[in-house]
C-alpha cells in the first residue's frame, strides 16, 4: 500500500532526524497533541517557529551590525529564539543559543558573531528537516494513512 511505503520513508527519515538531534521528544509531545480536533497543530506550530525564527535571526544580525553592540538587547533576542526552539524541540538550535547566550553575557562580539553563524546554519538545517517531515505527513494523510509518532 502506498501509505505503508510512505510511512516507512517517514520513519526512516524521522529516525535520523531524532538520532542526529535536530529534533527531540518535545516534537513528539506536539505530535501527541495533534488529533481530529487539532489536525494541523504540528504544521501550525512548526510554521510559526520558522517565521518567528527568521525575524529573530534578522534582529540578531541587525544588532550585531552596530558598532556598539547592545549585548543586553542581543541576549534578549537570543533567549527568545532559545525558548521557541525548546518549545518545538529543535534541540541543536537550542544548544547553539545557549552558547550564544554565554557569549552575550561575556560581552564578546567575536564569540557572538561566531554563534550567529552557527545558529543560522543550524536553523537552516532544521528548517529543511521540518519541511520534509511536513511534506511526508501531508502525503501519508493524502494516501489515507496515519502519521507515525516516534520518541527517543
Amino acid at each position: 500500500m502506498e501509505s505503508d511505503r510512505l510511512q516507512k520513508i517517514y520513519i526512516d527519515f524521522a529516525s535520523v532526524v531524532f538520532r542526529e538531534e535536530f529534533l527531540d521528544n518535545q516534537y513528539t509531545q506536539l505530535q501527541q497533541l495533534q488529533d481530529e480536533s487539532e489536525p494541523k497543530f504540528v504544521l501550525q506550530v512548526g510554521t510559526l517557529f520558522l517565521e518567528d525564527s527568521e525575524k529573530l535571526l534578522n534582529g540578531l544580525r541587525s544588532i550585531l551590525d552596530q558598532q556598539d553592540v547592545d549585548f543586553e538587547k542581543l541576549d534578549a533576542c537570543v533567549r527568545k529564539l532559545m525558548g521557541s526552539s525548546a518549545s518545538i524541540g529543535a534541540k541543536r538550535v537550542k544548544n547553539v543559543c545557549m552558547a550564544f547566550h554565554n557569549s552575550c553575557k561575556n560581552g564578546s562580539k567575536e564569540g557572538c558573531l561566531k554563534c550567529l553563524q552557527q545558529v543560522a546554519q543550524e536553523y537552516l538545517l532544521v528548517k529543511r528537516k521540518l519541511e520534509t517531515l511536513f511534506k511526508l505527513e501531508k502525503q501519508i494523510l493524502a494516501a489515507g494513512g496515519s502519521v507515525p509518532v516516534l520518541s527517543q
Binding site: 497533541l33 487539532e38 517557529f49 527568545k80 496515519s146 507515525p148 509518532v149
Partner: protein, 202 residues
C-alpha cells in the same frame, strides 16, 4: 503587533461540571508558545475560555488596568479568572504585569502564574515574593496546565503545597507525579496517544 485571540475550548456549551468556566488570559510575546499553551489548555479536559495577547500592555488593556498610578484602579476583574504570563517580554515584563495586578486594591487579586524558559531561582523567588501563585518552566506540559484550574478564582481550594524537591529553589515543573491526561469530556474522539519508547503508529 497587537493581537488578541479568544478561543472557546472544551465542550460545546463551554461549561465545567458545576457550570463553572475558567477564563484564562495568556500573555506571551512568542507566537509559538501562545499557540502551544492554547492547545494544551484545550486538551486538558477542563473547560477553559482562553484569551491570548502578545504583550503586557495589551494584557493591561484587557484587564482594564491603568499604568498611571495616579488614577484610582478601576479593575474590571470579572473578565479573567487566572493570568498565565511569560516572564521575559519587551517593554512590560511578566514581572511588571504581575506587580500591577497584585497592587490592585480589590479583595481578591487575580491569580497569576508566571512562565519562563529559564530556571533561575532568583527570578522565581522574586515573583513569589510579590504574590505569584506559581512559576512554571517552559516548555509547558500537560500536567502543568491541569493544575491551573485549582488556582482560578472559582472558589475551589488551592492545591496542597509542593513536596520539597532536591533543588529547593527550582521551578515547579514536574514536581508532581506525571499523570495521564484525562479524556476530554467533549467529542469522545479526542484521546491522547500514549507515549511509547519505541515506535507508535497513531
Amino acid at each position: 503587533m497587537e493581537e488578541v485571540e479568544k478561543r472557546e475550548e472544551g465542550s460545546n456549551d463551554g461549561k465545567l461540571e458545576g457550570g463553572v468556566e475558567v477564563r484564562v488570559l495568556v500573555v506571551d510575546d512568542s507566537p509559538v508558545d501562545r499557540r502551544m499553551v492554547e492547545v494544551l489548555l484545550k486538551k486538558s479536559g477542563a473547560m477553559f475560555q482562553v484569551t491570548s495577547v502578545d504583550s503586557g500592555k495589551r494584557a493591561m488593556e484587557v484587564l482594564g488596568l491603568s499604568e498611571d498610578k495616579t488614577k484610582s484602579p478601576v479593575v474590571d476583574d470579572q473578565k479573567v479568572d487566572i493570568i498565565l504570563t511569560d516572564y521575559c517580554m519587551p517593554e512590560m515584563t511578566g514581572y511588571d504585569l504581575l506587580k500591577a495586578v497584585k497592587e490592585q486594591s480589590c479583595q481578591k487579586p487575580i491569580p497569576v502564574i508566571v512562565m519562563s524558559s529559564e530556571n533561575e531561582p532568583q527570578r522565581i523567588n522574586r515573583c513569589r515574593a510579590i504574590g505569584a501563585e506559581d512559576f512554571i518552566i517552559k516548555p509547558l506540559q500537560t500536567n502543568d496546565v491541569l493544575r491551573l484550574r485549582s488556582y482560578a478564582r472559582t472558589g475551589l481550594p488551592p492545591p496542597p503545597p509542593p513536596p520539597p524537591s532536591s533543588s529547593s529553589n527550582a521551578g515547579t515543573k514536574r514536581k508532581m507525579t506525571i499523570e495521564l491526561m484525562a479524556e476530554s469530556g467533549g467529542g469522545g474522539s479526542e484521546r491522547r496517544r500514549p507515549r511509547l519508547t519505541g515506535l507508535a503508529v497513531a
